[in-house]
Symmetry: C2
């Protein structure tokens, strides 16, 4: 009995230690963008303790950013008197495809090519690091902590300057054998397009459904309509944005409504195709364009239903709810899952 008690004491003493230790574990999530790096300090249960950002300095062939990240992470660790061994690691999101071996082949936004980002972060910051595609990580963040609901199978589309995407399968990011799963902006939706997309191909989804694409479509519709567009909400705006188009549509402006209809048709049809490849529980739409609100979902769902394969016509659509924080949440999730 005495031995058993000593054993129990040791055992439960250890458990208390473990608990204490676990309570003090930290994770950094870093969303590295072309203009700013967003950082989040998380506890290992996924609570965001603090977030901040630093400008992205692309000098020295994109290497300066690593020194800046090391500096801000070190400063935060000192400021909060965190012991380094209690930092599980750093999760970083980058705007590029990453191969199964962790290599960023090409990242024009930061000037990197054929480069193992996680190794570099780990070396410069002196902490374990993992790295993923930013849109995939935003998808993971939304699936995990977004929309007051946790999903395990998600198609996430982000409508910003371009169209990004991420697929969550069984709670995990679908990476793909060449790092290309969820690169939804590059689905070819118009074989007749002659203008090239940034990827070099023509007729990519992002040439129409991104903020840039919507603005371009608005300019085209205005041109087509000519004099009959006079008096439109969009007429006379120097440089039309996607926000203008949705604002106009909300006011009932006909030209704006035409553009929203085109956007909905193209994205809705593309999503009908996406959802017979990977059939999710929910399609989540995020990115700057999604700030226009339910009008975006309504426009897309209307056309999705028309083109959908009947058994998945009743798909759930949701707006992303974490906004710019989705990426850092996804980065933290990656560290918790993988390190």
């Amino acid at each position: 009995m005495h031995i058993m008690n000593a054993y129990a004491e040791r055992k439960y003493g250890c458990m208390r230690m473990q608990e204490l230790k676990e309570k003090n574990k930290y994770v950094f999530g870093i969303d590295i963008g072309g203009t700013a790096c967003k950082l989040g300090l998380f506890s290992d249960d996924g609570s965001l303790l603090e977030k901040w950002q630093i400008p992205t300095d692309r000098s020295n062939d994109g290497m300066k950013v690593f020194e800046d990240l090391a500096e801000t992470v070190d400063a935060k660790i000192r400021e909060r008197a965190i012991e380094r061994h209690n930092v599980i690691g750093i999760g970083a999101g980058v705007p590029a495809s990453i191969s199964a071996e962790g290599v960023v082949q090409k990242c024009p936004a930061l000037g990197w090519s054929d480069f193992k980002v996680a190794d570099k972060i780990s070396q410069v910051v002196g902490l374990p690091a993992v790295c993923g595609n930013d849109a995939n990580l935003a998808a993971a963040g939304e699936a995990w902590k977004g929309a007051n609901h946790s999903y395990s199978d998600v198609v996430f589309v982000t409508l910003g300057t371009g169209v990004g995407g991420g697929i969550i399968c069984n709670g995990r990011i679908l990476q793909g054998a060449h790092g290309c799963s969820g690169e939804l902006g590059h689905i070819k939706v118009n074989p007749h397009e002659t203008k090239a997309d940034g990827c070099g191909g023509c007729g990519c989804l992002q040439q129409y459904a991104s903020a840039t694409g919507i603005a371009n479509m608005a300019e085209e519709v205005l041109m087509e309509k000519g004099d009959s567009a006079r008096g439109s909400y969009l007429d006379g705006i120097g440089s039309i944005t996607a926000k203008d188009v949705f604002d106009g549509a909300k006011k009932g402006d006909e030209i704006s409504l035409t553009v929203v209809e085109k956007f909905g048709e193209i994205l809705g049809r593309a999503l009908a195709g996406i959802c017979v490849v990977f059939d999710p529980e929910v399609v989540i739409i995020g990115g700057g364009v999604s700030a226009a609100g339910e009008i975006v979902i309504d426009a897309v769902r209307k056309h999705y239903v028309k083109w959908a394969f009947p058994p998945c016509a009743d798909m759930e659509f949701r707006l992303a709810s974490l906004g710019n924080d989705a990426g850092i949440y996804g980065c933290a999730k990656m560290v918790i899952d993988e390190l």
Copy 2:
């Protein structure tokens, strides 16, 4: 020491028993089709011991088929003097979407609707049963035992009367939240199509890339070309088949080559889209059309490369190698994985 030896004897005695028991375990794979049911008896290491088929009798609202299956399975068990408790179970493939709850909502080929096929088989045959979509299971079979190579991430397209598909992710079939993952034949590739597909939608991939679709495209090209088609290999064939088209193309017939080019363009572009949703190690093409051989792969890859997102342009393409047996292999794999 004595105790240890007795323990070891017990332990290793048990292991030998276990081995023996495992050697005698069996699995039935059944691919239920509209005209025939293909059956395979497997050992639980995935070796095919014997295969046979019975005609599909769709009478009694599609219920007769279950009695016939029970009869042939029972007969095989008796013939081989297999003990029923050594049959792990039955895996069945059906030509329909199956919900996450195992419900076949609609299976026109067999006259079933809102129906739990696995429960029915289990009840009638008196053995544990699992059920899946036939194209998904063919994909699993090919990924597992096909092409002298085992893959864990596969896009499988089957070109038969229609176009089916299946996606293998991490060695497992991707089912989808509504049972629709891998329903590749229903990707909308032509928004201008006015003829409806069997699913009710217009412009589905299978309206062009199936055996039927290829034959239809050939008829159309012949009509378009009118008199200038005289003397073509296809001219004068009463009812053109996809095989005729590929045969003609192999002989250098211009009309046939035009049709193969159209087929390659449509399927290649669709696959470029599919591979930025789910980016596999390999695309495997099966079904009756694939019997034409490497010409199919060449036609598709030529256009795939043109439309592909650059990081996954270097995709591997392969012809399916298990032919009509892919389905029963996939059924056996499902039993081994799930029962």
